[in-house]
């Protein structure tokens, strides 16, 4: 889908507008950091990768440690827990714990008062969320936990995080798709589940990788008689570009009554995306509002 690419582009665009921005990746990935700075990131380190733009790869275990140290009055207590194998297994086996911890860290990054010692707050956190179905589950994890826990610190914490995530003035959700049947279906399904499960709407749908649609119908007709490789290639690309337009139109129709804007990004013919290309993509997207796209 180019989700990471779009996340990086949004991050660069926000940084260019003067917002202190961080792009957060999950699941031990660091694609964005690699693209922008050419090297792997140390897990959990906030690292500056461009002017005004930082990056973090969120690790649930480290997020838990940070949370415990913050929650407990004495560091030694947190260490008792984190050193306990029983606790480690319990945390690993508790359904939804990883998701909760991941979202807790995303929330922490956006706080004025940071838990991480010496860290400064960010104006914007761009989360490169997991793929569709699981993505919404991750965003919902804090509420799910708050509901399950009812009372106590986790319930409070879960509600606080959920309040930020489901507040449209603070959190925006960006869907990224390509102009093909399945991705368009998924984008429409994502919109429905974001609305039903989070009470939010999409702020933007981005359709990535649009091929140039060069030929008019008459030109395509004229080409049908041309033998050899060039004619064949041109016809094939024309068919692909047309199929993409049809899927894009289907997405637009599906979102017509929702007011969700649909932006397109051109197919990038460069062999590897570099930082300049990402910045250019970011300018095209121009999110305008100073909100926090969740992905």
């Amino acid at each position: 889908m180019g989700k990471s690419t779009v996340a990086a582009a949004l991050g660069l665009a926000a940084a260019a507008r003067g917002l202190r921005t961080i792009v957060a990746e999950v699941s031990a990935r660091d694609d964005i950091s690699r693209t922008l700075s050419g090297g792997p990131a140390a897990p959990f380190a906030e690292r500056q990768i461009a002017d005004g733009l930082s990056h973090i790869s969120i690790d649930p275990e480290q997020a838990m440690e940070e949370y415990l140290v913050d929650q407990l009055p004495v560091r030694a207590l947190a260490e008792v827990l984190t050193a306990s194998r029983a606790f480690a297994y319990l945390a690993a086996a508790t359904p939804g714990m990883r998701e909760l911890l991941t979202m807790g860290k995303v929330w922490e990054l956006a706080q004025e008062a940071r838990r991480t010692p010496g860290a400064r707050p960010y104006d914007l956190v761009v989360l490169d969320a997991p793929a569709t179905g699981h993505g919404v589950a991750v965003l919902r994890a804090p509420r799910t936990f708050a509901d399950a826990a009812r009372l106590g610190p986790i319930a409070r914490q879960g509600r606080t995080i959920d309040a930020m995530l489901t507040d449209p003035s603070r959190t925006g959700v960006v869907a990224v798709a390509t102009a093909e049947e399945m991705p368009v279906n998924e984008a429409l399904a994502l919109r429905a589940s974001v609305r039903d499960e989070l009470g939010l709407d999409l702020d933007l749908a981005v359709v990535n990788g649009m091929l140039p649609d060069r030929l008019t119908a008459a030109e395509a007709e004229a080409l049908s008689a041309v033998a050899g490789a060039p004619g064949r290639v041109a016809r094939s690309h024309h068919a692909r570009a047309r199929a993409q337009r049809a899927q894009l139109a289907r997405l637009r129709r599906g979102l017509r009554d929702t007011g969700v804007p649909v932006a397109t990004l051109p197919f990038c013919f460069a062999a590897e995306l570099c930082a300049d290309d990402l910045a250019a993509l970011g300018r095209r997207l121009d999110p305008k509002r100073g909100r926090e796209p969740a992905r």
């Binding site: 009372l151 049947e181 013919f269």
Partner: protein, 394 residues
């Protein structure tokens, strides 16, 4: 080597890769090909595209394999000498069924299914889908009804969850944690206020009593199905490492899925799981000529017939196509190196979406192509065109 050669003697074929690379279609085409060759094949998929599901005759999530009517393929020139069965997995329901089957009595079953932790979280969590899928696979394998089972894995970004799920569950249930929970003086008792264990008093402070109570109820109830679960997890683990099991990695030549494929291959190595081969979908066919075309020459040659404007457009499209093909060739070279895979199976980009029987048959023909046909799809490093057959004719 066609995909058929790689699957000789395999009973279990797990198709892995990131979302959006045609994984489900590949799994279905693979199963179709094996069935055409005379085997009884079940393809297990999770939430496929509606049209793909329909093309296999699946109308709804249904936890039992259904026989796909061979007449569906006969019209497309494919004779089913074996049988193709298909099912769409409902992860949550499969998990519920597993609990129902393993619970020693109704009370335990109801305790688990009614537990809020279970109810709220079991369907929506990384790892549970993966474990459920594998557990279903294990069950289908044990049933002895199929020669080969093809699993289309959930579009999980975290391949680790998939491979780790059995181990994590087994460790948990055999570990100290669960004993602490389940002993008469264990956590379950302690959270009720009688015990004073250091770990648990701290834990209580962090989580709150309610959550801990629910968790202890959850794990205590789960202890009723413990033996079944441990046995199941051990069986699943053995199945994953069995010589008759193989993982096929599917990718497209785009950067993100390529990185995902490399990452997944590394995880397979670490977990000592068998890697059966790489399938690269959507390879740009380029111009289909042995040597790159010069766009200037193309323009000049066509200008007289087509007029300068259209000739120029064609030339630019040819140039684009060569850039795409070069980039794909670069990705494939990198994949070969990183995955230690000399002969990835390449499927060219097919015009239009591949979600109907026609599309499946096309993908099948590429996957199962014999050596002479395959030769034409091989990408030579540094060459512009993979030389795939004309996708425009599709």
């Amino acid at each position: 080597m066609s995909v058929a050669d790689r699957l000789v003697g395999k009973r279990m074929c797990i198709v892995a890769g990131s979302g959006g690379v045609g994984k489900t279609t590949t799994a279905a085409a693979l199963a179709m090909g094996l069935a055409a060759a005379g085997q009884r094949v079940a393809v297990v998929t999770i939430d496929p595209a509606r049209r793909l599901a329909n093309s296999l005759g699946l109308d709804e999530l249904d936890n039992e394999p259904r026989l796909v009517d061979p007449a569906r393929f006969a019209d497309h020139g494919l004779e089913m000498r074996g049988e193709l069965w298909a099912m769409m997995l409902d992860a949550k329901r499969t998990f519920d069924e597993l609990i129902e089957r393993l619970a020693p009595d109704e009370r335990t079953r109801d305790d688990i299914l009614g537990n809020r932790i279970y109810a709220e979280l079991s369907g929506a969590v990384a790892g549970s889908q993966e474990f459920t899928a594998i557990a279903k696979l294990y069950e289908l394998d044990r049933s002895g009804n199929f020669d080969v089972i093809v699993l289309d894995t959930p579009p999980s970004r975290n391949a680790l969850d998939f491979l780790d799920a059995p181990d994590r569950l087994t460790h948990f249930f055999e570990g100290r944690a669960v004993k602490l929970f389940l002993a008469p003086t264990g956590l379950a008792a302690k959270v009720m206020g009688r015990g004073t264990g250091v770990v648990f008093s701290i834990l209580k402070r962090v989580t709150g009593v309610d959550l801990l109570t629910d968790l202890s109820t959850f794990f205590r109830a789960l202890s009723g199905v413990l033996d079944g679960f441990v046995e199941r997890a051990a069986g699943v683990k053995a199945l994953l490492g069995d010589p008759a099991t193989t993982f096929l990695i599917v990718t497209s030549p785009q950067r993100e899925p390529v990185e995902e494929a490399i990452y997944f291959r590394g995880k397979l190595r670490e977990a000592r799981m068998p890697f059966g081969g790489l399938i690269v979908n959507r390879v740009d066919p380029g111009v289909g000529e042995p040597e790159p075309l010069d766009p200037g020459a193309v323009e000049a040659a066509l200008a007289a017939d087509l007029g300068p404007a259209l000739a120029r457009k064609v030339a630019r499209t040819v140039a684009d196509a060569q850039v795409l093909a070069d980039r794909d060739a670069g990705s494939i070279t990198r994949l070969r190196r990183e995955l230690d895979e000399r002969e990835p199976i390449l499927v060219p980009h097919l015009d239009g979406d591949v979600h109907d029987v026609d599309g499946l048959v096309q993908v099948y023909r590429h996957l199962f192509a014999l050596a002479p046909d395959r030769e034409r799809l091989v990408v030579r490093p540094g060459r512009a065109a993979p030389g795939a057959q004309d996708a425009g004719a599709a």
